[in-house]
Amino acid sequence: MEFAFTEEQAMIGETVRGFFAENATSERTRKAMAGEGIDRALWASFAGELGLAGIGLPEEHGGAGLGMVELAQVAEAAGAQVAALPLLGHVMLGQALAKGGTEAQKAALLPRLAAGEVIATAAWEAKITAEGNRVSGEAAFLPHGALADLLLVRAEGKAWIVDLKAEGVGVTGHVTMDQTRPFATARLDGVAAEPLADGAAGWHAALAAGWICLAAEALGGAQAALDRTVAYSKERVQFGRQIGSFQAYKHRLADMMVEIEQARSAVYWAACAVDEGSDEATISLHSAKSFSADTFFMCAGNMIQLHGGIGFTWEHDAHLFFKRARSIQTLLGDGQWHRERIAAMVLDAGLGVAA
């Protein structure tokens, strides 16, 4: 038992924080927001120069190996800059394939995912039916769906990979509140699709990775919201004092730190529990997703309030955090849904100290 980063993990953390701080600048992110919602140059260097798209994917298929802890570190650093990257669908499809794909699917797709050559999206809830290997119906709220090449979707108890460039696919992009992760709706009309070999295992792994990705992004975003607000509170002078010297202000920042420290425990607890195949993996994932998302929203809301008028402007970055926080709260199950899962485990099944 050693709940602290190894030296190697500490180095990964430093590298990814440096990369996103330097490259995922506000200017570049805003350019992506005004366009298609992805900073393609950022994605290319993320996957190419740094090889980060391969984290969590098996080495024999071009991945970088490593696990959910390292994946969380990457997502945390990306979230701290509200980077416009198609990370969520990427980690979901990657893990679905790694844990549930056929050997042929893995060999064909994992190297391309690890290289960042394809963009993936995934559907949380979709009204899809399958006939043979053809799928039809509608999949909505697809993150970065308008640009995605591949869709991971569940239908008829199986998990399917759909080529979104195939015949019979109609994709509509939407103007989305969080412009760094715009949604799309895909309509599928008898589209040829491939089922995973083990749909249950694949879908389970996809959700675990997706929840960890979102929770870690939220953690990074919450910490950045706090750090930026602390910095502002030391610069801004009113009534002849730094505003950060007023207790009403200090205590709100302190409350943010209290929540963030818990979110940090939650994210890395879940990442470790999944990596180690712990009995606690399920409860840790529901805890991490719901708690971190709420923490981020609280911190981003405070960021606006504590900046005053400037925090309400388009020019200031506070709204990027605020909108990302709202989006994370509802992606892959909202807080109530996750807490109800925990309630069912605790109240209906009986979960003792050992579990």
Binding site: A254, S265, W269
Partner: protein, 392 residues
């Protein structure tokens, strides 16, 4: 980063569990499950001595002083198994977790030899003399004075909120040894025998009707000159170092009590049907999450190992658990409904959940109120400007 335990650690777990289970179903079955600090004190003194003689009293201490040099993981395991076995709350928590480590850090070899074996053997129960009527949140405003008289320090003043003072053998006292000094300067840290005519203990009745803490009056109370930890004037430094030990492994044991309390809320909700109410379900789930995160926050803080460093998990831990438990007290009453407001017998004495509701109001006050915690977090954790201070 690793959460699982090694096979050696699991073997250690089995060893602790076997011993604790045997004691709690055998010789000490009568005090199993006691969580307060007032019941069956005589038997619990015997239990402290039993822990001491079997070498389980202070496993984190060095072997030379009666400990086991236990690793953090082993201490985590012992704390978990201790609670799982239903062993009673340690009445010498202050001696083992606070006084001992502080004596180890600041004591002379002679002082270590005088006090540590007594604590390790479970023969010496300690209490803490910090707060005073005018030194609560502003602890440095201590007015209790100690003056040198021959080979003794002579102490006059009043301490308050001294938990366990009515049955403690020893007390550590923060007293002003430099006349005319103010604030953190001029304070010293004295180790005093409770059994003397100059010390008088008066219990204070709390909002739940019980009396676990006290006022302690010092009237020409004495201790030998060499019962000072550190030098004269070092008292603040020693007192603050001691508070850092409060965030140690004992937090894991405390969390097992919280587990027990949350389980009681869960059981009550199942018993009266509230477990089906969607609002209650959300709140219980949130409480469950909070408790789990407390555990992993503590493991992060312990894995960091260096308790002196500024560490986010450590700095936020007090407000986190205190707020959580106060919230659990409220949730317990929400589950019970009006039935929770009627005592089961003719005296003003409360079962677990109503008592939790009342007693947990102290949690966000003692050991630094939530408001003081927020100041500390903002100033030490976030580097914000310090609170303005009035003239002393």
């Amino acid at each position: 980063m690793k959460l699982g335990f090694s096979p050696e650690e699991e073997a250690f777990r089995a060893e602790c569990a076997d011993w604790l289970q045997a004691e709690m179903t055998g010789a000490f079955a009568d005090i199993r499950g006691i969580t307060n600090l007032s019941d069956a004190i005589g038997r619990r003194r015997e239990w402290e001595q039993r822990l001491g003689e079997a070498g389980w009293g202070c496993i984190g201490w060095p072997r030379a002083w009666g400990g086991r040099d236990a690793t953090i993981a082993q201490q985590v395991i012992f704390a978990e198994e201790y609670a799982r076995a239903g062993a009673p709350n340690r009445i010498n928590h202050i001696g083992v977790e606070l006084a001992g480590p502080t004596i180890l850090a600041f004591g002379s070899e002679e002082q270590k030899a005088r006090y540590l074996p007594e604590i390790a053997a479970g023969r010496q129960i300690w209490c803490q003399g910090y707060s005073e009527p005018n030194a609560g949140s502003d602890l440095a405003n201590v007015k209790t004075r100690a003056r040198r008289e021959g080979d003794d320090w002579v102490v006059n003043g009043q301490k308050v909120w001294t938990s366990l003072a009515h049955y403690s053998d020893m007390v550590f006292v923060v007293a002003r040894t430099e006349e005319g000094s103010a604030g953190p300067k001029g304070l010293s840290f004295l180790l005093m025998d409770m059994d003397q005519p100059g010390i008088e203990v008066r219990p204070i009745r709390q909002i739940n009707g019980e009396a676990e803490f006290n006022e302690t009056f010092f009237t020409d109370a004495r201790c030998p000159a060499d019962a000072m930890l550190g030098a004269a004037g070092d008292g603040w430094k020693v007192a603050m170092a001691l508070l850092a030990f409060e965030r140690g492994v004992s937090t894991l044991g405390q969390q097992m009590q919280f587990r027990n309390e949350l389980d009681a809320v869960i059981a009550a909700s199942r018993a009266n049907g509230k477990a089906a109410d969607p609002v209650i379900r959300q709140k219980i789930a949130q409480a469950e999450i909070g408790l789990r995160l407390m555990r992993y926050g503590a493991l992060r803080m312990l894995s960091g190992a260096d308790l002196a460093a500024i560490d986010g998990a450590a700095l936020t831990y007090k407000i986190q658990w205190a707020t959580w438990r106060r919230g659990l007290g409220e949730l317990g009453m929400e589950v019970l409904g009006q039935a929770g407001e009627i005592a089961p017998a003719d005296d003003y004495a409360w079962p677990q959940l109503p008592n939790l509701f009342l007693s947990s109001r102290a949690d966000t006050i003692y050991g630094g109120t939530n408001q003081i915690q927020r100041n500390l977090i903002a100033e030490r954790g976030l580097g914000l400007p310090r609170e303005p201070r009035g003239k002393a």
